[in-house]
C-alpha cells in the first residue's frame, strides 16, 4: 500500500528531476525509486490489512502480484536506455513519470477492495498507456495506434462502468466482499429477481476487463496498438498491463462472484477457447517479430484465463507463476528486438521483421542466446520457466472435474504445439538463416538485464519451487 503513495511522489519528483540539465541521472533515479517501492511493498508481507475504509486490501497474494508488476516495471525501465538521451525530441522525465504513475494504477488494480478503486486504477493505467503509445509523435503508426487505443479503451471503460452500476443495482454494494454477500442475500430473498441486473452487470464488467487483457473477441485493437507503439512501451503493455488486468479479473470473479460461477464461467470457456485459437493461429502468419509478439500476448492471455476459470485454491500460485514466467520472457524478447531492430534500421525506420534477426548469432551470441531462451520459455519447452507455467496451468485444468475443461485442454494442447512453430521462427532466423548483423555494443546495464532475465528463466525452469512455495 505504501508503494502507491511512494510511487506517486516519485513520479512527481521525476518531473522535477527533468528540470535538471543532466538527463543521465533520470534512469538510475527511476530504478532506485522502483526498488524503494518494492521494499515498501514487502512491508505488507503477512499482514492482512484493509486501508482507508476498505478501499484497498493487502495480503500475500497482492504483495506477490505487486512484486511481479514492480519487477516488470524495473526491467522495462532498465532496458529503456534513457530513451535515447542524446535525442532532443525525447522527454525522458515525462516518460519515466508516466511509467511510475501507471505502475500506481496497476498496483491499485491488484489490491482494490472497492470497485471505485478498480475503476480509478484502470483509468490511470489506461490513460498513461494512451499517452505512451502515441509518444513517438513523428511516426504515423504510433499516432494511429494511440488514437485507436484511446477510442477503444474509453469505450471499454464505459462498458466496465455500466457493469459496475448494474452490479450495484443488484447487490447494493461497491465493496467486493459486500457484493459477494449481496449476491448471496439476493439469491436467498428474491429467488430469480436478482437475475437480469446481476447477469448483465457481471458480463459487462468482464467484457471491460477482458478488453484490457486483449482476450478474443475483444482483442482486435491489440496487434495494431502493440505494433504501432514504441517497442519499449509495448513491452510494458504486454507485461504490466496484462498482469494487472488478469489479476483484477481474477480478484473480482473469484471474490465477488464465486457463487454464480455458471454466470461467468460458461461464457469464459468460449472466450478462452477463442483467445487460444485466434491468438496462436494468427501469430503463425505474421512476418513481423513485433506483431508476432502481440499475437503471442493474446494467446498467453488465454492460458492465464484457464487458471482463472479453474477456480481452485492453487489458482493463486499458478497465476502468479505463469505471469512471472511470461513477463520475464517477454521483456527479454523485447529487449533483443529493440536493439536489433535499431541496428538493422533501414532509412531511419527500425526493421522489426523476422529478417532483421537473420544471422544474429554470428556476431552477437549473447543476444541470440537470450532470444532463444525467451522464445523457448514462451513456447513452454522444459527446463525453462514457461514450461512449469504451462505445467501448472494444465494441472489446474486437469483437476477440475467439469467436462468443459477437457475441451479446453484439448484446444490448449493443440495450440501450444502451434505456438512452438512460430516461436521457433526467430530462433531459425538467428541461427540458421544467412545474414549479417554487425556487432551491437550493449551498455553494461543492458547486458546485466539480459543475463539476469535469461538466468531467471532457466533457474525457474530448474527449481520452480523456489518461488512456487512463496506464491
Amino acid at each position: 500500500m505504501n508503494a502507491i503513495i511512494a510511487l506517486s511522489l516519485f513520479g512527481i519528483s521525476n518531473l522535477f528531476l527533468g528540470f535538471l540539465n543532466n538527463r543521465k541521472i533520470l534512469l538510475p533515479a527511476t530504478l532506485v525509486f522502483i526498488l524503494i517501492a518494492l521494499g515498501l511493498n514487502f512491508a505488507d508481507w503477512n499482514h492482512e490489512y484493509y486501508w482507508f475504509n476498505n478501499m484497498l486490501k493487502t495480503n500475500n497474494l497482492s504483495v506477490n502480484f505487486v512484486t511481479i508488476i514492480l519487477l516488470s516495471t524495473f526491467l522495462v525501465v532498465a532496458i529503456s536506455r534513457s530513451f535515447g538521451d542524446d535525442d532532443e525530441h525525447s522527454h525522458p522525465a515525462e516518460y519515466y513519470a508516466i511509467l511510475l504513475f501507471s505502475a500506481v494504477g496497476a498496483i491499485m488494480m491488484v489490491t482494490f477492495e472497492n470497485l471505485i478503486m478498480l475503476f480509478v486504477g484502470l483509468e490511470i493505467l489506461s490513460v498513461s498507456m494512451y499517452v505512451l503509445t502515441g509518444s513517438d509523435k513523428r511516426s504515423l503508426r504510433s499516432n494511429e495506434a494511440a488514437l485507436k487505443y484511446f477510442l477503444m479503451g474509453s469505450f471499454a471503460t464505459g462498458i466496465l462502468l455500466f457493469g459496475v452500476a448494474l452490479v450495484y443495482g443488484a447487490t447494493s454494494s461497491f465493496d467486493i466482499h459486500g457484493i459477494a454477500q449481496g449476491v448471496a442475500k439476493a439469491k436467498e430473498q428474491m429467488g430469480g429477481a436478482y437475475g437480469p441486473l446481476l447477469y448483465s452487470g457481471v458480463i459487462l464488467i468482464m467484457v471491460g476487463l477482458l478488453f484490457k487483457i486483449s482476450a478474443a473477441p475483444f482483442h482486435f485493437w491489440t496487434p495494431d496498438v502493440y505494433d504501432g507503439a514504441p517497442s519499449i512501451f509495448t513491452a510494458f503493455m504486454s507485461t504490466v498491463v496484462k498482469t494487472a488486468g488478469v489479476a483484477a479479473t481474477y480478484r473480482i470473479l473469484s471474490i465477488s462472484f464465486p457463487s454464480v460461477y455458471g454466470l461467468w464461467g460458461n461464457p469464459l470457456v468460449y472466450i478462452v477457447c477463442a483467445t487460444l485459437i485466434i491468438g496462436n493461429i494468427t501469430a503463425v502468419y505474421q512476418q513481423s517479430f513485433k506483431r508476432m509478439l502481440a499475437y503471442s500476448s493474446i494467446s498467453h492471455a488465454g492460458y492465464l484465463l484457464i487458471t482463472v476459470l479453474a477456480k481452485r485454491p492453487e489458482t493463486n500460485s499458478s497465476l502468479l507463476f505463469y505471469s512471472l514466467a511470461y513477463a520475464i520472457a517477454t521483456i527479454t524478447a523485447f529487449a533483443v528486438l529493440m536493439v536489433v531492430s535499431e541496428a538493422q534500421a533501414k532509412n531511419g525506420k527500425a526493421d522489426e521483421s523476422f529478417e532483421a534477426l537473420n544471422g544474429l548469432a554470428n556476431n552477437n551470441p549473447l543476444l541470440a542466446f537470450s532470444l532463444t531462451i525467451s522464445m523457448l520459455s514462451l513456447a513452454g519447452i522444459p527446463l525453462t520457466a514457461g514450461f512449469f507455467g504451462k505445467f501448472f496451468v494444465f494441472s489446474d485444468a486437469f483437476s477440475n472435474p467439469s467436462s468443459l475443461f477437457k475441451w479446453i485442454l484439448v484446444i490448449a494442447i493443440l495450440m501450444s504445439t502451434v505456438g512452438i512453430y512460430y516461436y521457433f521462427k526467430p530462433i531459425i532466423a538467428a541461427y540458421m538463416k544467412k545474414g549479417e548483423v554487425a556487432k551491437i555494443e550493449l551498455s553494461p546495464l543492458y547486458k546485466f538485464i539480459l543475463i539476469l532475465t535469461t538466468t531467471l528463466t532457466i533457474l525457474l525452469g530448474l527449481a520452480p519451487d523456489l518461488v512456487k512455495n512463496i506464491f
Binding site: I381, F391, S399, K406, I420, M432, D465
Partner: protein, 551 residues
C-alpha cells in the same frame, strides 16, 4: 560413487567447457569430445559388467529430492531426481555409449562452427543417456524433451539444403507427441500416491529407510478406505510406484476401478492411446513416420547415426518403461491394434525402401520397417516377443549406425546419394563393398548376425501370442522377404557390373583409417551379438519375466 549421475553430468559439464573455451582450442574440440564419449563408453561397459543378471528390479539406484510443491488441498507434489537401470534400460545405455562414441568419431568431418557443434553433441549425449536411466517420469520427460533441442540445432545448422524444413518438422512432430505424454504424465501425477513418503507424512514411520512391504500395504489400505486426509497425500512421478494399482487414489481418473469416461473412452484407455501416439511418433510407426526420412536426408552423417541409432529406440523404450507396465489391461485389450500398426510399418516401410532412389531415404525407410518389428514384439506380450523387441532395438541401433556411416562415406567423396549414380564400385572400393555387404546382410536378417535374432524372436513372439491372429504375423514375416529384396537389389545396383559414377571425375578412394576404425568394430559387434545372443538376453530376461507378471 554415483556412477549414473557421472554418466549424465560428465557430458553436460564437458558441453559447457566446450561452449566457453576460447577459439584457439578449436582444433582440440573434437578430440575432447571423443575423449568424453570414450569415458562414457567405458563407464557403460563397466555398468554392463557389474549388472546383476538375476535381479529383476532396478540397480545402481540414486535418489535425491528435487522439487517439492505444496498443492493446497490436493496434498504435496514431489519430483525426485531418481536414476536406475534394469534389464530393459541396460542394453539401451550400452547402445548409447557405443553409438555416441562412434558418432563422435564420425563428427571429425565437421568443419564449420565446431564449438557449437561439439557442445551440442555433448549436450545430446547427456540428455539421451539420462532419458534411459530416469525413473521419475518427470525427469524422463525433461530429458525426452530436452534432447530435441540439441538435435534440432544439429540438423538445422549443420544440415543439408532443406535443413530448416526438416528440422522444424522433426521438432514439431516429436513435440506434438510429447505433449500427449505430458498430459498423461499430469493425469498420472494427480492419480498416483507415493506410499513411502505418505507413510512418513502420516507418521507410520519416521524415516524413508524404515519402509517395509507391510507398511506399504497398510498405506494402500488406508488409501483405499479414504482414511488419509488429502493434505497429507504425497503425489509422485515415481515410475516404480505407478504399476501398482494400489497406489492410485480411489476416486482419481486413472484408477482402474473408478472407470472414468472421457469422450466415451475409458480414461485409462485414452491415456494409453495418448502414450502410444506420443512414443509411436518417436519410434516412428506408420502413419506418423513422415518426419524421419526428411530429417535423415538433411542431417549430417553423425547426426543421422545418432538419430537412427538411439533416438528411435526411445520410442520403444517408452512403451516398455511407461505405457505397458502402467496400463497392462489396456495393452492386452489393444494388442491387435498395436501389432497391426507394427505390421503396417514393416510392410509400408519395406515397400517404400524398395521404391527409393536416395540411399539415405532407403535406409530411413528400412529403419521404419525394422522398428515395426519392435512394435510387433512388444505388442505380442510374450516373453520371446518382448525380449526379441529389446534385442531388435539394440541390434538396429548398431546396424543403422553402420548403414548411415556407410552412406556418409560415399557422400563425402561424391556428394551424391542417388543409387542409380553408381555402378560397379566393388572394383574400386573392395573394403567399402565388404563392409556394406556385411551391414546389408546383417540388416536383412541373415543368420549369424544380430538382425536375425531380433527379427526371429519377435516373429516367434507374434506366432506364439494368443492375443493376435496368426495371419498378421505371417504378413510381418513377408516383410523379411521385402527387406532382402531392397537390400540385395541395392547391393547389386551399386557394387556389381562395370565401374561407372555419374558426373564424378576423380578416383574413389577406399576406406580411410578413421572410417575403418568406426566400421570394423560395428561389424564385429553385429557378428558377436549375432552369435552370442545371450549377451543381451541375459540382461533382459529377468526384468521382462517380472514385467509379464502384470499381464
Amino acid at each position: 560413487m554415483p556412477i549414473l549421475s557421472v554418466l549424465i553430468f560428465l557430458p553436460l559439464i564437458a558441453s559447457l567447457v566446450v561452449a566457453f573455451s576460447p577459439d584457439q582450442f578449436k582444433a582440440y574440440f573434437k578430440w575432447f569430445t571423443l575423449g568424453v564419449t570414450a569415458i562414457e563408453l567405458a563407464i557403460c561397459i563397466y555398468l554392463y559388467q557389474n549388472f546383476n543378471h538375476d535381479v529383476a528390479d532396478y540397480q545402481f539406484l540414486e535418489q535425491l529430492d528435487w522439487i517439492t510443491l505444496p498443492l493446497g488441498n490436493l496434498g504435496i507434489g514431489s519430483i525426485d531426481y531418481l536414476l536406475g537401470v534394469d534389464g530393459i534400460s541396460m542394453p539401451m545405455v550400452l547402445l548409447t555409449g557405443i553409438v555416441m562414441f562412434v558418432g563422435a568419431l564420425s563428427s571429425f568431418q565437421i568443419e564449420q562452427k565446431e564449438r557449437g557443434y561439439f557442445s551440442l553433441y555433448l549436450l545430446l549425449t547427456g540428455s539421451v543417456i539420462g532419458c534411459f536411466m530416469a525413473l521419475d517420469m518427470f525427469l524422463f520427460y525433461l530429458f525426452f524433451e530436452f534432447m530435441l533441442l540439441p538435435m534440432y540445432f544439429l540438423i538445422g545448422i549443420w544440415g543439408g539444403p532443406r535443413k530448416e524444413y526438416a528440422s522444424i518438422k522433426f521438432f514439431l512432430y516429436t513435440l506434438f507427441g510429447s505433449i500427449f505424454i505430458l498430459i498423461v504424465m499430469i493425469a498420472l501425477y494427480l492419480s498416483v500416491v507415493d506410499p513411502v513418503e505418505t507413510a512418513v507424512r502420516i507418521g507410520l514411520i519416521n524415516d524413508v529407510s524404515e519402509i517395509t512391504p507391510q507398511i506399504i500395504t497398510e498405506v494402500q489400505n488406508l488409501l483405499k478406505d479414504l482414511k488419509i486426509p488429502s493434505e497429507q497425500i504425497v503425489h509422485t512421478f515415481d515410475l516404480r510406484f505407478m504399476p501398482d494399482a494400489g497406489n492410485f487414489l480411489p476416486d482419481s481418473w486413472l484408477n482402474i476401478l473408478s472407470g472414468t469416461q472421457i469422450f466415451s473412452f475409458s480414461a485409462r484407455a485414452l491415456a494409453f492411446i495418448l502414450l502410444m501416439i506420443g512414443f509411436g511418433i518417436k519410434l516412428p510407426a506408420v502413419p506418423v513416420h513422415t518426419w524421419l526420412p526428411d530429417a535423415h536426408v538433411e542431417a549430417p552423417t553423425p547426426v543421422s547415426v545418432v538419430l537412427a541409432g538411439i533416438l528411435l529406440k526411445i520410442g520403444g523404450y517408452g512403451f516398455l518403461r511407461i505405457a505397458y507396465p502402467i496400463f497392462p489391461e489396456v495393452a492386452t485389450e489393444y494388442a491387435f491394434v498395436i501389432v497391426a500398426f507394427g505390421v503396417l510399418s514393416i510392410i509400408y516401410g519395406a515397400f517404400n525402401a524398395l521404391a527409393m532412389n536416395d540411399l539415405k531415404k532407403m535406409i530411413a525407410y528400412s529403419s521404419v520397417s525394422h522398428m515395426g518389428f519392435v512394435l510387433l514384439g512388444i505388442g505380442s506380450l510374450t516373453s520371446e516377443g518382448i525380449n526379441g523387441a529389446v534385442y531388435q532395438m539394440f541390434s538396429h541401433g548398431v546396424l543403422s549406425a553402420m548403414l548411415f556411416l556407410l552412406v556418409g562415406v560415399l557422400y563425402d567423396r561424391t556428394h551424391d546419394r542417388r543409387i542409380d549414380s553408381y555402378q560397379g564400385l566393388a572394383n574400386k572400393m573392395p573394403l567399402y563393398t565388404a563392409m556394406t555387404a556385411i551391414a546389408f546382410f546383417a540388416s536383412l536378417g541373415l543368420p549369424a548376425f544380430s538382425g536375425f535374432i531380433g527379427e526371429v524372436f519377435t516373429l516367434m513372439g507374434g506366432f506364439n501370442s494368443p492375443l493376435i491372429p496368426r495371419w498378421l504375423t505371417a504378413i510381418a514375416a513377408f516383410g523379411l522377404v521385402l527387406g532382402a529384396g531392397y537390400f540385395l537389389w541395392t547391393l547389386q545396383r551399386i557394387f556389381f557390373g562395370k565401374y561407372w559414377v555419374r558426373q564424378f571425375e576423380g578416383t574413389l578412394e577406399d576406406l580411410t583409417f578413421r572410417e575403418k576404425s568406426m566400421l570394423y568394430p560395428l561389424a564385429i559387434l553385429a557378428f558377436v551379438f549375432g552369435i552370442f545372443p545371450h549377451l543381451i538376453f541375459d540382461l533382459t530376461n529377468a526384468t521382462i519375466s517380472e514385467l509379464l507378471k502384470l499381464f
